[in-house]
């Protein structure tokens, strides 16, 4: 039985999408519609990826304040991307077809995420302060390494990195979008089938294991899925640190349920709604005077501080 709030969110998302597509549509209708459709599909894809990656990560880490972005996942993605240009050279990078670059990026990202965060989750799940600290340090380390490498490569190659790194909400690449959707769909199917076992995993490692859940193997696969989802979102629009946190805390306070079959679709719809609605407002009302990511970061960052101050570290 679909939940009332989920249906409301879905309705709002459809309305926001319609508004986004049709607002101020007067001349050259098909041309503009096509542009907007690509953008809309990109926003929704990013929303789904960020919403679900965040929920999955919070279930694995057993708390509601850490998100993949706070733990430095998307900084890691940028690092992987920069090292690719660094090691195979800007020319080689441009020569490779888009999906191949994306595939290599995602694969390296998965390996790195599983190695780093797998060990971390295994030993320190209970120690949230330590996890936040490690996340901040990881993020800083990844960013510093990234900018270090960008300094070493020559300016023309740097331009290539920059071009791929800061794709904003405005310009979404069609090839990348298609690749992302092709990767996202099977991932979503797999994750959906894990919903009941995810509920059990949320009890924590030991209780879940004593119920016969092969926890460590699943954690490994879920970390891979999270890495892939973060890759999708980051490749399309660049890093957005606090969107996940904003979405997950709104979802938890709306749903008051532990069932992932409800939580995951709701967070996906919520994230997509925030992005689509926000982008509409920015394009039409504020005439692109600011950027959506800045506002999301601002609101999300405030929420993060608020949650920290309230001691809601559970």
């Amino acid at each position: 039985m679909p939940d009332r709030w989920f249906l409301i969110l879905l309705g709002a998302l459809v309305a926001a999408s319609a508004l986004f597509l049709t607002w101020g549509l007067s001349t050259r209708i098909w041309f503009i519609l096509e542009l907007r459709l690509v953008k809309l599909a990109g926003l929704i894809t990013v929303g789904i990826a960020v919403g679900i990656a965040t929920m999955l990560f919070q279930t694995l880490s057993g708390n509601r304040i850490l998100t993949p972005a706070i733990m430095g996942f998307d900084a890691l993605f940028l690092l992987v991307q920069t090292s690719l240009v660094f090691f195979i050279g800007g020319f080689g990078f441009v020569q490779l077809p888009g999906p191949v670059v994306f595939g290599i990026n995602t694969a390296v990202m998965m390996v790195a995420a599983v190695t780093l965060f797998g060990a971390l989750l295994h030993n320190n799940r209970r120690d949230i302060q330590l996890m936040i600290l490690v996340g901040v340090i990881f993020g800083l380390l990844f960013r510093s390494l990234t900018s270090f490498m960008q300094r070493l490569i020559d300016p023309s190659e740097f331009a290539i990195v920059q071009g791929t790194m800061f794709a904003q909400f405005g310009g979404i690449n069609r090839v990348e979008l298609l690749t992302s959707v092709c990767l996202l769909l099977p991932l979503l199917v797999w994750i959906w089938r894990q919903c009941p076992v995810l509920d059990t995993m949320a009890l924590g490692r030991d209780p879940a294991r004593s119920l016969g859940v092969p926890y460590d193997g699943l954690q490994f696969r879920l970390l891979c899925a999270i890495a892939a989802l973060v890759s999708i979102a980051t490749a399309l629009v660049g890093p957005i640190t606090f969107l996940g946190l904003l979405v997950s805390s709104l979802t938890y306070s709306l749903m008051r349920s532990h069932r992932h079959a409800l939580l995951l679709p709701t967070s996906a719809a919520m994230a997509a709604l925030i992005l689509v609605f926000g982008q509409t407002v920015f394009e039409q009302v504020l005439d692109l005077q600011s950027t959506l990511s800045i506002v999301i970061e601002f609101a999300g960052g405030l929420l993060f501080l608020f949650l920290l101050a309230r001691g809601k570290l559970q």
């Binding site: 279930t59 057993g62 708390n63 509601r64 209970r126 919903c195 009941p196 076992v197 509920d199 059990t200 949320a202 009890l203 924590g204 030991d206 209780p207 294991r209 004593s210 119920l211 016969g212 859940v213 092969p214 938890y252 008051r256 349920s257 532990h258 559970q314």
Partner: protein, 252 residues
């Protein structure tokens, strides 16, 4: 029967268990007693497969720990850990329904609902069934976890200090309930206890640990005497016999 043979366990350089071998009988309540740091919880965790075995073997009935599929083991034994915290927002009823996971893998049947209702009944949780776990007291949460293990409906039930946080009434009711399970449904129960009075009153079998080794074990009446217990805790312990009960006195 749980068969433990030659089990040693070390964390870093600290030797927690030293070559422990013993049998735990079926269909009875076995109390695991001993001073702090004796290795009781570690032994329990090794028995339940929560910690990987380093040396030695443990088998539960015919299943060898470490070589059995997690699900088969979960159908054989249920575990109630000592410190249980749950991050997700769960109602008491939801928590108990997780006990049915090994049977239904998340697709509950009518039989599962009956079992959940029974667990709520037995552990006096009906009034709390729809409360969230973070809105009930520590003792109530503890009872919910025991009820979840009960709902798992396994031959073996392993509990690590389940009486922590429980008031007098619920502590003795819990022990009576476990006793009934052993008698009526032939369940085998292993329980880590600190209060010797509960051990003497309810356990059929006692296993005493000290410094990571077995101190003594046997039928409760035979082995719980003043001499053994005093040596176990390095403290003067007296047994006081009233008309129909035995008390362990050590408070002064």
């Amino acid at each position: 029967m749980i068969d433990i043979s030659g089990v040693s366990y070390a964390i870093g350089k600290a030797q927690i268990l030293k070559d422990v071998s013993l049998h735990i009988p079926c269909g009875q309540i076995t109390a695991l007693i001993g001073p702090n740091g004796a290795g009781k919880s570690t032994l329990l965790n090794l028995m339940s497969g929560q910690e990987p075995l380093q040396t030695g073997t443990v088998s539960v009935d015919a299943l060898h720990i470490g070589q059995t599929r997690p699900r088969d083991l979960a159908l054989k034994m249920a575990v109630v850990a000592q410190h249980v915290g749950v991050a997700s927002r769960l109602r008491v009823r939801d928590l108990i329904s997780f006990g049915r996971w090994p049977h239904n893998q998340g697709r509950p049947t009518a039989a599962d609902h009956t079992m959940i209702a029974q667990a709520l009944d037995r552990f006096d949780l009906n009034a709390l069934a729809d409360r969230f776990l973070d809105e009930v007291s520590g003792g109530q949460r503890q009872r919910a976890f025991v009820a979840m293990a009960y709902a798992q409906d396994t031959d073996w039930l392993l509990l690590d200090e389940p009486l922590n946080n429980l008031d007098l009434r619920h502590a003795s009711r819990l022990m009576a309930e476990l006793h009934r399970l052993a008698r009526e449904q032939d369940k085998s129960i292993v329980i880590v206890l600190h209060d010797l009075n509960y051990a003497v009153a309810w356990a059929d079998h006692v296993v005493a640990m000290k410094n990571g080794a077995l101190a003594f074990e046997g039928a409760t009446q035979k082995v719980t005497n003043a001499e053994n217990l005093s040596a176990l805790y390095d403290t003067d312990v007296r047994l006081v016999q009233t008309e129909d009960e035995v008390f362990v006195a050590h408070h002064r």
